[in-house]
Symmetry: none
Subunit: 147 residues, 2 copies
């Protein structure tokens, strides 16, 4: 949950927001990050969730399809474990930072059981896009829980 802005220092280190850490820490001292398949951002989650995502994909896509194969390859091929140090920081790689166009500031966006890391300007645009989109489709959502 929540959106948090943190600095990326010259070494590429970022503090994982403490709330996120607290949740992950119940399980382990590591997270898994990979390049988002659909957006210029980094995605992160606990390791066991990644396995769940993979199996979700298997059920929601045709089991023998080429697409499903490609997707799992893509994610697992890209994903890497990142352990955070005693102060709660992780060291992001060039590849990830470049994909998300992040230089010195990172925006953490909660997404339920996973999260995304964005370049501030990109996230600003993305959020505006989403708000506009949701607002447009609002009538079809009101039945679904009443936000």
């Amino acid at each position: 949950m929540d959106t948090i802005i943190n600095k990326v220092d010259t070494k590429g280190r970022v503090s994982l927001p403490s709330d996120y850490r607290a949740i992950v820490k119940e399980l382990s001292t590591e997270i898994v990050c990979y390049r988002s398949l659909t957006s210029p951002c980094i995605e992160g989650c606990a390791e066991e969730l990644l396995e769940k995502i993979a199996s979700d994909m298997e059920t929601s896509l045709d089991f023998f399809s080429q697409t499903q194969d490609d997707l799992t390859n893509l994610i697992f091929g890209d994903a890497r474990r990142f352990s955070f140090d005693s102060t709660g920081r992780i060291l992001l790689t060039e590849k990830l930072l470049k994909h998300a166009q992040i230089t010195d500031t990172a925006v953490f966006v909660g997404k339920g059981r996973k999260f995304q890391i964005w370049n501030p300007e990109n996230w600003e645009k993305e959020e505006a896009r989403i708000r506009a989109e949701i607002f447009k489709n609002r009538p079809s959502l009101t039945n679904k829980g009443g936000m």
Copy 2:
């Protein structure tokens, strides 16, 4: 639940009205707040309501849909837990206060299982608007129970 006016101090702290607190406290010591999608106000609810909305979405929209992706970003990205201290106060963030245009006074409005927090002037206008709206539709109400 009725409408209650409380002060927001220089740090952004507000007392959650005791009635509201009593209801939430049966469940936990935390509430979840986020920017309303449709009005310049803050919305708050118990955490499990948010989880329910999230899981409703998971079942009603399919895994790879853009809408589902957008919604989780918007809801979990914006919402945050707020735990209240021993005197029953929460510390609202700049983002929320700004969205609701609240500076030093906040109006709490009960809305069933959730509530809203308004800037006093905005709420006054909103209430007038709602009353006018209801009055306009009065003919269709009188048959149904006599308000």
